[in-house]
């Protein structure tokens, strides 16, 4: 599973402070740590409280790239900030994210085509997050079709079926699983899939257990990637085991270590 490391995010106090003070220390530290722990991409989010998102994004992209060569996932609802970040990325990045709303898709897919970026597409539109799988798959198909019109291949897309906390929207769980399966039937090549893993456990007890259980269930249903905490050892161990059971890696006794150390 492709791990998009979630930690460089202004939602976290240390990163918010680092952005505010223009202090590269914590950003370097988290970039290195997540890479060491096996992240494949680093999510870059200036946080909700930033008053100058474009400048903050530019700074965060440059500072992160000083510490890690991993590709970045530029995470913002402000597309000017994403575009400013894309210009600075040393290698093709990922845009996080766009909903299935025409005006936004036109802006984001044009940008993705220009910079060769991958895109996380959200299975939602102006009406919000659908309740069932059918609607979600319908929106995923709109994302795939619109991307295609901009010359973006389906496998450059990561469709996020959108996960709600399991304590407030329990009935969404099975719908998300079905969505993950059916997204793979939209096109050939199929789009990839992703989730914001920790959303499933917002406000619950035993968050790590819920996160990793969800991760392996979703993998069995076709999940390709997740925005997650790469330093959660138990999560990484569960993912490593799921990869063995799904015949994605050849078993050996050190299978957990091999998976965790794949970036080193």
């Amino acid at each position: 599973m492709i791990i998009i490391g979630e930690r460089i995010n202004g939602m976290f106090k240390d990163i918010a402070k680092a952005i505010n003070d223009r202090d590269p220390g914590p950003v370097h530290e988290w970039a290195k740590k997540q890479e060491y722990n096996g992240a494949h991409y680093l999510d870059i989010n200036v946080g909700p409280s930033s008053t100058e998102p474009v400048e903050a994004m530019k700074w965060l992209v440059e500072v992160t790239q000083e510490a890690s060569d991993l590709p970045l996932a530029l995470d913002s609802t402000k597309y000017d900030a994403i575009e400013a970040g894309l210009k600075l990325c040393k290698q093709p990045a990922m845009i996080n994210s766009v909903p299935a709303e025409m005006a936004k898709m036109e802006r984001v897919f044009a940008m993705a085509a220009e910079y060769g970026a991958e895109v996380i597409g959200l299975a939602m539109n102006e009406e919000g997050i659908p309740k069932d799988a059918d609607m979600r798959v319908g929106l995923a198909a709109e994302l795939v079709a619109t991307a295609d019109a901009f010359g973006i291949a389906p496998d450059m897309l990561y469709i996020d079926p959108l996960v709600l906390p399991c304590n407030v929207a329990q009935d969404h769980g099975p719908e998300v699983m079905r969505t993950l399966r059916e997204i793979k039937m939209i096109s050939d090549p199929a789009p990839k899939t992703t989730v914001g893993l920790s959303n499933i456990s917002q406000g619950t007890k035993n968050r790590e257990l819920i996160n990793r259980t969800f991760a392996v269930m979703a993998m069995a249903n076709g999940l390709d990637s997740a925005i997650a905490d790469a330093s959660d050892d138990e999560l990484m161990a569960a993912v490593a085991a799921a990869r063995i059971i799904l015949d994605m890696d050849i078993y050996c006794d050190s299978f957990v270590d091999v998976f965790k150390q794949r970036n080193r």
Binding site: I250, Y251, C252, D253
Partner: protein, 324 residues
């Protein structure tokens, strides 16, 4: 409209390993041999690169091996002299490299000392200029006493030494690490152990991960060849899909295994219906080796010069570019 042929694309690549060392690199070989480097399944030149041809070794023992009498015409005069034997293999029979099997070190046979064994290896190195592989007698306790003296005596030569096994890999690996030799990692027809052993060796020294040759254990035709084949196929597929801990060149003792079997050895008198013994044995060995070429082997260790000739012709054919 032209038909577009579907081609498989692989992410991974088998690592390249250099065998032997010339004067510039501290050895005395006239040339080195590079194995591995494949980016496609065996001989599918149209899907990727097969940059190095598989190579064929002949085996030399440090005692009279008491092989089938059909070998007497080829090696009978040199059984008692490993150097002359090796020279004959290279100069007359066209072996790409030599594998010395130190069978005489076996405590139940001649119980040769580590010094005797190092001297034998030196003798072979002096007699031939091709890269040399050295394996022990097969009894771990004794073999562990041999590795260091041999590795030191041949320091700089970039030998291939073996064998490392899951329960006994440290001695030979540290001897190779300290003296820059290549190690043979042997697993008993088991992909999981094969991968685990490579990991353990690489853990001892990351530099060793590019100095491992996989011996998946090859069986002879009729004795489980399909098991070996499927393990090697799985390892190579894993390597091409990016599993670095399986992305090493592979090696197999096709000669040794084939000539252990009755089909290669039983006389014409005993089995008149099976065809003439010498020819039958050669074919048994060549057919076994051919199957392993198809499963991705990089180094074949053979025994009969006529079988080697057949296989070299086979490799010539398979290395012809079939890309389009």
């Amino acid at each position: 409209m032209a038909v577009e042929i579907l081609k498989e694309k692989y992410r991974g690549k088998v690592g390249e390993v250099v065998l032997g060392a010339t004067k510039e690199n501290g050895g005395t070989r006239s040339h080195t041999i590079t194995v591995g480097g494949e980016t496609a399944l065996p001989f599918l030149h149209f899907e990727g690169e097969i940059p190095n041809r598989p190579v064929v070794a002949l085996e030399v023992w440090d005692i009279n091996p008491e092989w089938n009498p059909c070998f007497d015409d080829y090696y009978g005069d040199v059984y008692d002299d490993a150097g002359a034997w090796a020279k004959k293999c290279v100069e007359e029979y066209g072996a790409d490299l030599i594998q010395v099997r130190l069978k005489g070190a076996d405590p139940d046979l001649n119980d040769y000392s580590p010094e005797d064994c190092a001297a034998t290896v030196k003798k072979v190195l002096e007699a031939v200029s091709v890269p040399v592989m050295v394996i022990g007698c097969g009894k771990a306790e004794k073999d562990n006493t041999l590795y260091n003296p041999i590795a030191e005596a041949a320091a700089g030569e970039n030998l291939v030494m073996g064998v490392a096994e899951l329960e006994n890999y440290k001695s030979v690996t540290s001897a190779c690490m300290a003296n820059n030799h290549v190690v043979i990692a042997q697993s008993p027809i088991d992909i999981n152990i094969c991968k685990q052993l490579n990991i353990l060796i690489a853990e001892m020294s990351p530099a060793m991960s590019s100095r491992i040759i996989i011996d998946p254990t090859v069986a002879a035709l009729g004795y489980g060849i399909e098991y070996s084949y499927s393990i090697m196929e799985r390892a190579r597929n894993g390597a091409l899909q990016g599993d670095k801990m399986l992305a090493m060149p592979m090696y197999g003792n096709a000669g040794f295994e084939s000539w252990r079997q009755k089909e290669a050895n039983i006389s014409d008198e005993e089995q008149p219906g099976w065809g003439e013994q010498a020819e039958r044995g050669i074919l048994w060995e060549a057919t076994t080796a051919m199957a392993y070429l198809q499963s991705g082997i990089d180094i074949l260790v053979m025994r009969h010069p006529e079988a080697l000739k057949v296989i070299k012709g086979n490799i010539d054919d398979l290395m012809k570019d079939n890309s389009y």
